[in-house]
């Protein structure tokens, strides 16, 4: 572009106004929509006992614990589903592939309600996970399902199978081929998907509202704790707790950024 600008000053001058405009407009939009409210949030955060009291720390521990568990389950289940979609062949595969996106498209409150209908107090299969931590894990598994599948699937699809064939011809078993050849190639993608799932699980609200029952010290996650603080007229404390999970979210985002760079370097 620089070479072009020296060769064609007139064209470059014509082009220079529009980019300035697009940068300016999108920066203003982003500042008004995202940054200004978040600035207000950090400014109004006060009452740090809202973060350090036993109920809050219990909520934070529970949130991080279940999110970690959900991320780990996703690492295994997501990879298996991606494998089934790429390496397997069966009737209805296209439909299954489309179904994986359903949790992204389905409103979270509807996700919570559907789980509650089948696995709630009036369950036709006699499984009741409502008001239990199991219910929280189930709801989080539902909403985070697509992340690992959708990050691993394309990498698995692009994977060169010659190495696997070579390993097989040298007498390596299936497990050994997977662990030594396939897993190292798809690991960055798995980790990236796991991080996204974890970040999503930490902040999840809609699917948990109905199913968790919001019992302090038992099924109260951070997002519901914040909501409770708002309802009981303590927006300052709610903001303080929000700043804490804002920090966690941002940390995870940065980690994903680093991972992504690692993944793209891996490609080349």
């Amino acid at each position: 572009m620089a070479a072009n600008a020296t060769a064609l000053p007139a064209a470059a001058a014509r082009r220079s106004l529009a980019p300035g405009l697009s940068i300016g407009l999108s920066t203003i939009y982003l500042s008004l929509i995202v940054l200004l409210p978040l600035a207000a949030l950090s400014w109004k955060a006060h009452g740090w006992q809202a973060v350090t009291n036993p109920e809050a720390t219990a909520a934070l521990e529970l949130t991080l614990g279940v999110s970690l568990l959900v991320a780990l389950v996703n690492a295994v289940a997501g990879t298996a589903i991606a494998w089934t979609l790429v390496r397997d062949r069966f009737v209805g595969q296209g439909l299954v592939n489309a179904l994986v996106d359903l949790p992204f498209a389905l409103p979270t409150i509807v996700a919570g309600l559907t789980l509650l209908a089948l696995y709630g107090p009036r369950s036709p299969v006699a499984v009741d996970v409502s008001l239990k931590r199991t219910g929280i894990v189930l709801a989080l598994l539902f909403v985070t399902l697509p992340f690992v599948v959708r990050t691993v699937q394309p990498v698995l699809f692009e994977l060169d199978r010659e190495m696997e064939e070579a390993a097989a011809s040298l007498g390596a078993g299936r497990a050994r081929i997977f662990l030594r050849i396939i897993l190292p190639s798809i690991l960055p993608a798995i980790l990236s998907g796991v991080a996204l799932a974890f970040a999503r699980a930490v902040g999840e609200f809609g699917s948990l509202v109905l199913i968790s029952g919001n019992i302090p010290f038992k099924t109260e996650v951070v997002s519901l704790y914040i909501f409770g603080r708002i309802e009981s007229g303590d927006p300052g404390g709610a903001a303080a707790a929000s700043v804490v999970i804002l920090g966690i979210s941002f940390g995870v985002l940065l980690a994903i950024g680093v991972l992504r760079r690692w993944v793209t370097r891996h490609d080349r």
């Binding site: 207000a40 409103p107 509807v110 309600l113 399902l145 509202v209």
Partner: protein, 258 residues
């Protein structure tokens, strides 16, 4: 051979238990006594109003975020400017932020005692609009950025060399290349806008028949022990989700063969 089938059945079983069975059961419960009761439940004045609110929110948030998305994708990929890294991170932020935190941030800005409080934004439709725009902001940007990177600048430079204006270059060269990515981003934005619950829940003040969107209505019906109403309005939202899903799968192959 056995291993292959084990992975297949484990994967499909997981999807069946977690996804297909619950969603299928709610559909079955809704239409258990025929189409009539379900239809009646989603055509009450409150339900129709809630649907209208949701459609208004979507109709504002999607075009706004599409224009912003294309503009800022161009800014991120095509131009180097100070703070581009921070810009990039802030665009992603709504993806990782809890919806409750988004709602609270808007409440603290526009609610009573807020910097911009007292203008009828919190607990009213404008607040819901801002919340919806916030949470559905990153999707178009995220879809368009990689495609812009992929196509490079050669064709755009050629067009400029031949005397095309910025607008002509965009319309004839850049836009045809990013069209499908933009469309895919629009579909994701729409799905998110239709389904937003947490942020809207905090900023709405929950006035039935006024600031209640469809997702809030679902919760309201469930809390009032009106199962038919809750299931039927859930199914309506789920059908919209399935429609989005169909568009998504239709767009994906086109995006890949580009």
């Amino acid at each position: 051979m056995i291993g292959r089938y084990a992975v297949r059945f484990a994967s499909l079983g997981y999807l069946a238990v977690l996804l297909v069975a619950p969603v299928g059961y709610v559909f079955w419960k809704t239409f258990q006594h025929g189409f009539g009761p379900a239809w009646d439940a989603v055509t009450t004045p409150d339900a129709v109003h809630a649907l209208k609110v949701t459609l208004i929110l979507t109709a504002i948030a999607v075009p706004a975020n599409t224009i912003f998305g294309v503009l800022s994708a161009l800014a991120i990929v095509r131009h180097r400017f100070p703070g581009a890294g921070i810009f990039n991170a802030v665009v992603d932020l709504p993806l990782a932020l809890s919806p409750v935190v988004v709602g609270l941030a808007l409440l603290l800005l526009y609610g009573r005692g807020g910097w911009l409080g007292g203008h009828g934004i919190a607990f009213a439709l404008p607040g819901l609009v801002l919340a919806t725009i916030f949470v559905s902001l990153p999707f178009v940007v995220r879809e368009v950025v990689p495609v812009l990177r992929e196509i490079g600048t050669e064709q755009e430079q050629a067009a400029a060399t031949l005397g095309a204006s910025w607008l002509q270059t965009f319309r004839r060269v850049t836009w045809p290349a990013i069209r499908w990515a933009t469309a895919y981003g629009v579909v994701l934005t729409t799905a998110r806008a239709l389904g937003e619950f947490g942020a809207v829940s905090v900023i709405s003040g929950r006035l039935t028949g006024e600031t209640e969107s469809m997702t809030l209505y679902v919760q309201d019906r469930y809390r009032s022990f009106d199962d038919v109403g809750a299931y039927a309005s859930s199914v309506l939202l789920a059908l919209l989700a399935v429609l989005t899903l169909i568009v998504m799968t239709r767009l994906r192959p086109k995006e890949e063969t580009q």
